[in-house]
Amino acid sequence: MKPPVFEYVRPASLAEALDALASSEDAKVLAGGQSLIPMMNMRLARPGLLVDINHIPELTEIHDNGDTLHLGALVRHYQLETDARIKAAFPLIPEAERLIGHPAIRTRGTIGGSLSHADPAAELPVLAMLGEWNMTVHSRDGGARTIPAEEFFMSYLMTTMGPDELLTRITVPKQLAGASHIREFAVRSGDFALAIAAAMVSLNGDGSIATVRFALGGVGDVPWRNRELESSFVGTMGSDALWRDIGRQAALAIDPVDDMHASAAHRRQLAETLLTESLHRAAEMARERSGR
């Protein structure tokens, strides 16, 4: 199998890349290529112009900004898995990375590619929602703008980025309090998950909930999160019964569909179980960390 014929440009700077993207109606960005190239090999994607951003140095930067970490769009999965700065800022990133594909895929795949591809069963979009990451996108004619995660994912494999826009930087607020955990169920190691649950919990001195966040993947057309539901649990005492209750309420709030991989009912049940377990583990770690 070969990809269909395409024009190829390899810009050396962001400005050149944005020019190239603006020059064609039919341009596609090539980052790690771990989703795009199989789609092209199978002729599911036929871009007229491929803009290879792999040689733009500024997109590879990792920068500690105090309260936030700036990750260039070209930071690769294996770096997310191993970089100490990333682990310190948002420990859920390396934890999730071990669930993503296989080592050979993680060598090439990028954070920007994963978020822009917007597969609702992928891990990083779930973390983006949970961690309230901000996506900075650039275009030749529109300059720069920042899109919060909750406005970034539009539907299956679709984001709110325009065709001439390039995701350049991801701003990750550092996780300062509490602890977090991610769980998923996949039929085989490295497969896309049938369901993903990520949770972040911080507790008050008396064991009641100070903050709780939870997000689900694989259960809809975009990663799922409901802040109103989250805030209804603040102040409640953390307990196994509570984690089960949250799992149940979240499972009722989602609207998964049947597909060839799993029924909606199976996905709903997985979401409930995975979220309950995630919350339980995150709370346990939060307690250990605060020495209670």
Partner: protein
Amino acid sequence: MPNITLTVNGTQHRLEVDPRWLLADVLREQLNLTGTHLGCEQGVCGACTILLNGRPARSCLTLAVTADGSDIITVEGLAHNGQLHPVQEAFWQEHALQCGFCTPGFLITSVHFLSENPNPTREEIREALSGNLCRCTGYQHIVNAVERASETMRKGATHAVPQD
């Protein structure tokens, strides 16, 4: 057609490639390194795995043109001076292959894995090899081979990652 430079198994090549050519095809068709096999051509089977700048990568999911300037090791680069790499030797000793189609990808993946984790558990070996599919062996002998290679390599039997 763009010109690219690839260093493959220590030899530098200046090549003219069509942008749509996959790295696997360039290795096989232009450099005649047919040890790199193409199974699924969608990143699932792992047969085409090569070392790209020291890390395992799917050569079927990498355009040759984007690998310009890279350092590549294929299965042909594992043996040195007629001596099999300890991982190859262990695959032979443990009967870790039948038809052999998937073997190049398993070898490359294992060589890199053992360089990062020289003393793995069987479970870690299985996880590390989960991106490589074998339809013959049932994996048992492959896991045995990687375990055996880790033992011989810990005893100091030559380099973990080939150097040129």
